[in-house]
Symmetry: C2
Subunit: 419 residues, 2 copies
């Protein structure tokens, strides 16, 4: 493990290598990913041995262990995922604008690779292949900063990628694995000369650190504080199913429900309808002052009075805030104040109110009569995603292959000047 050493020479090499990746054709890029998939399968035993070294360092029972773990089944899935990315359409080369300017200049704008993508992530070794495959597919080089605990797993995976790159005549530095030290992060975040974009994948604290220290433009794939508003005209049976799904189907996901807003006209009927399912899933409810007595009377077992900071909170757990509102305006106001602008839903049969909600709510994804759990690159038809962007520049919502590009203006003339 190299430490305390500048990573700038490596970043420089990666930037030089990015020129080679950029020149690859659609077919060459797809073939490269299929070759990596082959190598991953034929070297499964070696990968498992190296992964074992990482696992040995983690005490039994630590939840990290499952995040780190690779096994035969997961390796097969990794290879399948590489082949799936290989089959996605090449996002580069598209002609975005074409026009002739006044003096006869030919103007075109085309989609081109970003160049060098930096990704900082934590323990899951599958991220190494996910990110490398998306970057290579889109003609980008990448710099990977994985977690210390996945050192041996990441190293063998990147060695296999390097083998495929060598065979394809592309410099190995096209996919560079950084030493797994925190100390290199600062250098990476200020390498504006060599790195075009940085994507932090992981905990809120990692994302916050990157946002505060990066001079390189970043895409934030941040927290989801998601609301579902049960408007009084809603079909309450369907509303119950949607709310239960949004809360319990995968509470650790960023698109999971955090706060139910319900019209006061239907709260006394609707809230008791949640009791059976929420009790089954052990969902802890933080109820506002109007919802509390209703749920108390319905004998909901896991009931607490909501504190101010239970609103605007991303629970990532079997926990849920509930607030009764007097009308759609109050619901919209609450969402405006507390949403993290990830995924927001209205359940209603009033088309005027639905349109108003979809138009007024400022979020990456807005829903009418569906679970917020659908926010996902694969589900939206974009293929594998790097994350869900909650910022507004460049990519909003599922951040997938199609957005790993930038634009380039090309002007061809015959000696034109502009005085």
């Amino acid at each position: 493990m190299i430490t305390e050493q500048s990573i700038t020479p490596l970043l420089q090499e990666t930037q030089l290598a990015s020129a080679s990746v950029r020149q690859l054709t659609d077919e060459q890029k797809a073939a490269l990913l299929h070759r990596i998939a082959d190598l991953v399968l034929t070297n499964a035993a070696l990968i498992l041995t190296e992964n074992g070294k990482d696992l040995d360092a983690v005490p039994d029972g630590d939840p990290k262990k499952d995040r780190l773990l690779l096994n035969e089944k997961r390796i097969v899935a990794l290879a399948a995922s590489l082949r799936a990315v290989a089959q996605l359409p090449d996002p580069t080369g598209q002609l975005l604008v074409e026009r002739t300017l006044e003096q006869g200049l030919q103007l075109r704008k085309i989609a081109v690779p970003l160049g060098v993508v930096g990704v900082i992530y934590e323990s899951r070794p599958n991220v190494t292949l996910d990110v490398a495959s998306l970057c290579l597919r889109s003609g980008n080089a990448c710099v990977l900063k994985g977690g210390k605990e996945a050192y041996y797993s990441n190293t063998i995976l990147v060695e296999l990628i390097h083998q495929a790159l060598r065979e394809a005549g592309v410099p190995e530095a096209a996919v560079s694995l950084l030493p797994p030290d925190r100390s290199v992060v600062q250098e990476l975040l200020t390498a504006t000369r060599y790195v075009d974009i940085i994507i932090p994948r992981g905990s809120e604290s990692l994302i916050k650190f990157v946002r505060q220290h990066s001079l390189v433009p970043t895409i934030e794939t941040g927290a989801g504080v998601c609301h579902t508003y049960v408007e009084q005209s809603a079909d309450l049976e369907k509303a119950r199913d949607v709310v239960v799904n949004a809360k319990v189907s995968r509470p650790a996901a960023c698109n999971a429900l955090d706060c139910i807003l319900v019209d006061e006209a239907v709260a006394p009927r609707f809230l008791p309808m949640l009791v059976a399912d929420f009790t089954k899933w052990n969902v802890e409810i933080f109820a506002d002052e109007t919802a509390y007595p209703i749920l108390l009377e319905a004998q909901y077992p896991l009931l607490q009075k909501a504190q101010a900071d239970d609103f605007g909170r991303e629970f990532l757990d079997y926990k849920c805030a509930v607030k009764v509102v007097s009308d759609a305006e109050e619901a919209l106001g609450h969402i405006q104040a507390y949403s993290s602008r990830h995924s927001e839903a209205i359940l209603s049969q009033n088309t005027v109110l639905i349109d108003r909600f979809l138009s007024k709510v400022d979020a990456a994804t807005v829903y009418a009569n569906a679970s917020t759990r659908f926010t996902d690159g694969e589900v939206f038809g974009l293929g594998a995603e790097i994350g869900i962007s909650t910022q507004k520049l460049h990519a909003r919502g599922p951040f997938a292959l199609e957005k790993l590009v930038t634009e380039k203006w090309i002007v061809v003339g015959d000696g034109q000047t502009r005085w």
Copy 2:
């Protein structure tokens, strides 16, 4: 002048007002800009009086004076520019994606306003109207931090905007002018809750400060270190005209030429061809060791030996670096190392080399056989621009009205869930 006071309440109001601006129709937004143009014309005398107060504070002969100055002619131009923006197509509302997902969910992606745009700029009062008009046209609210020296001019212009907003039933806070104190900048740069994007317009040091301190995503409209490569097959007469134009037509512009790269095979013929024009315009040349004796023999009067840091330098003046290269590879390598990725040109008749240059050079705009001076939103057919972006996310090259938007995913269902 209010100082030392938190600007957060004002930012909050602006964010609330952004919801009103977002709801305006195409026609309402256009009418609003025409109304501001009317008010600017009918209040020309008042504007000139207030502008005079700003001018009085600047000593005669200071170049700031011209940047600050408004006169009848400039006011007419301001109004015309407002009307031109009014006539640009509304960039919001476009349907970008439409598909039906597996479970019958209707998915759409549409272009929507960003929300609140923050702009930090320096002394020119015309920026106030430029930015406000582009933001309002695209359905955005904006927060303006102008220079202290333009305080009276900016204040009267924003008062006229407020009058038009009031008449249109839009809260005045949709266009908010911040106190002209440096102290408010830090608060603005960390207001991630209320401001969606910050654009610094001005000097390199302002841009650097914003990049280092902003937690709000920014668009850098940065420096242009622009090269023009005279390849040996170039039509040298045309090459001379292009090079002279790129250097002298407006040297203070970011798209002006900074460094000529010339093939050694043609350097002895080409460089002396520049002598007449460059002498006329008093262009100071910083020549590398091969170019120096050629220009010395041609008796170029303003000749110096280039120092290492003359390459990669943005001159913004009648100054130019010259380097002789052995071939296109060396030219590409030099550009890769020294370009600020703004505008780069090749002058050549070799179509293979032209294609190689246009494809390999990593810059916002690449040219074959034309002056880099064409890099401009108006020239490219985009209408008024906020600046030229040299970063790769969101907007690259001319950053105009069409990019003052983000995307929003809209999902409409009938009770669908995802387990």
